[in-house]
Assembly symmetry: C3
Homo-oligomer: 337 residues x 3
């Protein structure tokens, strides 16, 4: 594809020769047939093998390289990426899939080989069901959602529009609920369901459990990374982002636009306000006020955590002084006797 064509599509302007490129790569990885991009101007101090660069306005482009100048290089790169890479899912309903009746289906649905769609399911327009997907009874999947290979959707689950559910995700397995009787655990039947909003992406091998009696909810626009655990009856707001291996225990409530770093753990029944940021590996319980940034296990406000951490780092020095004082104390006592 010619740079002039790319410039036209991303609404930028071409500087230099109108060469052809055949892909987009990162700054360090691109070759002479690739275009790359500079999201951070400091990158320009190192060199790239790329044939062309997408650069922001007001930056002196590197000599000799053709550039496409735009206001936001990352946004432009996203557009260019979709020009060079298109996912292919196949088409139609495979005769080696199993679809029980009745099932409602919109136009353009793809169901690949070796998938099982149980009865009572509703699939919106252009839903893609890749191989080895299990869709349990009475579940619903919204328009334009892609279900990657090996997803399991337990019965009565609802998934919104334009979602991407990656391989190995399990939606709606039993919550972890028992009561104790005579030293044994008796199962509390988990008869609720999972409701996923529109524009949600769920990473590979993540698990979201069905509610005991009501609903486990993930709000629209929320993005969940791989290997995340979300327990029964959890309510998650809109436009959150949770990194890999986060664990959210049962009955937790999470507000909108909450960010969690990797391996965060949230204790059951915690209540996390809107716009909270939680650092990787934090252990959280109780209530967290909206807008807080918290760190550590047990988690505390970031400022306080930094102060305490700095002192912990000085403990050897404090301890030496403590020993000196102790010793003097001891001699002092002896002197008095």
């Amino acid at each position: 594809m010619k740079l002039s064509e790319i410039a036209r599509i991303v609404g930028g302007r071409l500087l230099g020769e109108d060469i052809e490129v055949s892909g987009i790569k990162g700054y360090d990885e691109a070759g002479s047939s690739d275009i790359t991009f500079v999201a951070n101007p400091s990158l320009l101090s190192s060199s790239t093998e790329a044939g062309a660069i997408i650069v922001p306005e007001g930056i002196a482009p590197p000599e000799g390289k053709p550039c496409v100048v735009v206001s936001n290089p990352l946004e432009a790169a996203v557009v260019v990426a979709t020009l060079f890479y298109r996912e292919e899912y196949g088409s139609g309903i495979s005769d080696r899939a199993i679809v029980y009746s009745p099932v409602e289906m919109g136009e353009g649905v793809v169901i690949r080989e070796f998938s099982v769609v149980e009865s009572g399911v509703k699939l919106g327009r252009n839903v893609v069901v890749m191989p080895f997907v299990y869709v349990g009874r009475n579940s619903e999947i919204g328009d334009d959602t892609v279900i990657f290979p090996h997803v399991v959707i337990y019965p009565n689950t609802v998934i919104g529009k334009r979602c991407r559910i990656h391989s190995g995700v399990v939606l709606g397995a039993d919550g972890f609920g028992y009561f104790e009787k005579d030293g044994k655990r008796v199962k509390i039947p988990q008869i609720g369901r999972v409701i996923i909003g529109d524009d949600v992406e769920i990473g590979a091998n993540t698990c979201i459990d069905r509610a005991t009696f009501g609903r486990t909810v993930v709000g629209e626009g929320t993005k969940i990374d791989n290997l995340v655990q979300i327990g029964h009856n959890v309510k998650i707001g809109k436009h959150c982002a949770f990194a890999g291996q986060v664990g959210i225990s049962g009955s937790v409530s999470v507000g909108d636009r909450v960010l969690m770093g990797g391996q965060v753990g949230i204790a059951d029944h915690a209540v996390i306000g809107d716009d909270v940021k939680i650092a990787a590996k934090a252990g959280v319980f109780g209530r967290v006020a909206p807008g807080e940034t918290i760190v550590g296990a047990p988690a505390m406000p970031a400022g306080r955590w930094k102060r305490i951490q700095a002192i912990i780092n000085r403990l050897p020095e404090i301890y030496d002084f403590f020993k000196k004082l102790k010793k003097r104390e001891f001699h002092g006592d002896k002197g008095n006797s």
Copy 2:
């Protein structure tokens, strides 16, 4: 279903109008056609939209709402839940499953489409094998056990009766065992097996590795949540409960009735006594005496952990005092010179 019928089944008594309900939900989520329940009397201070409530003896029921009075509302709710919700697995051996010979099977076995059962397998009465399950050679599954879609059972695995093995579980993959030779890792063949007792439930995407030479064992009645890792040669006792994302390294021994919170990690060869409770995110190694409650990473007895944590929270105050003393010390020295 009429309340009088429900009261009869759970052995309670009806107070108020004998209305019909069509489901059971949580206190906050129930609507007028649902029954709900009050496990904790303090709930009654808030209101519910439920049409009827299961309440404990000796509690003044909310005015106007029909109630079913029982000695244990949670136990009654469990019974009621099974009246309104029944899992459906299908029936018979699908002609689109693959079952190699010889396989032994009890009465009532269900094997769904796209499952593979290798030769030498024994399936007890009423075993359910959902779609996309792989049962490796010479494995055994006990009566009334349900294997949900996408479970992988490596060869020679034994699963007890009345177990529930959720989607994405992997039983019997190779343990993580190598020895080093010339800076490389040489694989130690993992030729042992996994043995799961009766009445065990295993959550979605949990992994339990085969032993190197002997057995990895999970005792009867133990309940394991999602995304838990259990290494090779681990021995787990009876009636334990492990929350999500727990990780148990190789050759660990765990007693009976041990509880672990989410994201706990146990180092290899640790020995955990009966009735130990381990708080979420704890890091455990060595021996833990029976009955201990431990917290933190590295883990310590809960009382000691609380005391140390309280002091850590006061470190800023201690540090200020330390600086004051230091300063005085310095001036004192100067005064002496």
Copy 3:
């Protein structure tokens, strides 16, 4: 198999009676028909039920038991294990697998029932594709690699020779990349790929994400345990070993021969030098110099961590002294007024 035969194969010598054994088990688990081995001479102080023992040179073997004497008992045990246990994968291309054209295949390839191999795939000699495996378009799998049931390989992935990819592994799912616009997250298309070197083993349910634009790389000989998360654009060196539930965020660089304990977390863009050892549960960010051993979250050199941890354990004592000083201080002040 006779002990004399085993001695011959492992290059050892037989002491005692030339009995037959039918298996190899661990020291505590072996029975009279098994051979066991002593990697650690201290084991010999306890007894074993084994019929025979593989012992190192220079150790007085237990009275009465036949022994096979070798220089390295563990290495010998590995060889013996392969005599008694052989994995069986089946053979040929199942007519119930789906293989799109064109696909290139070496000799001896096994593709089991219910697998899907998309077009453009290259499979080396003796590759085994077990049931329920999905191999995405244009992926490549090297000679003698085994793909266990339920592995998902997204398009354009490359896997080396002699790898073992365990059940539930997901290679090449989208990296977790978004940018924020008007309070929402806009997806950055993940169009890169995953490259796995030769002799890599990947544990059950582990996820390795495709790069945003370039490559996510795992170097040859690296061994990865179960439920590990490896983010987009990560570069991992050769002969590393990562225990269960490790999480490596996007764009991290890891050197050669790096060891990570269970549940370690590495923050994005961290750079880990060659031969680094990271203790279980550590939280790592920034740069770690080659050869360092680090512990804790946030991680620090092991020596420093031990010193600080020892002081934390003495905080109650320090705090008591602090309170005493404080009190005296107070009295002193009062005395002066």
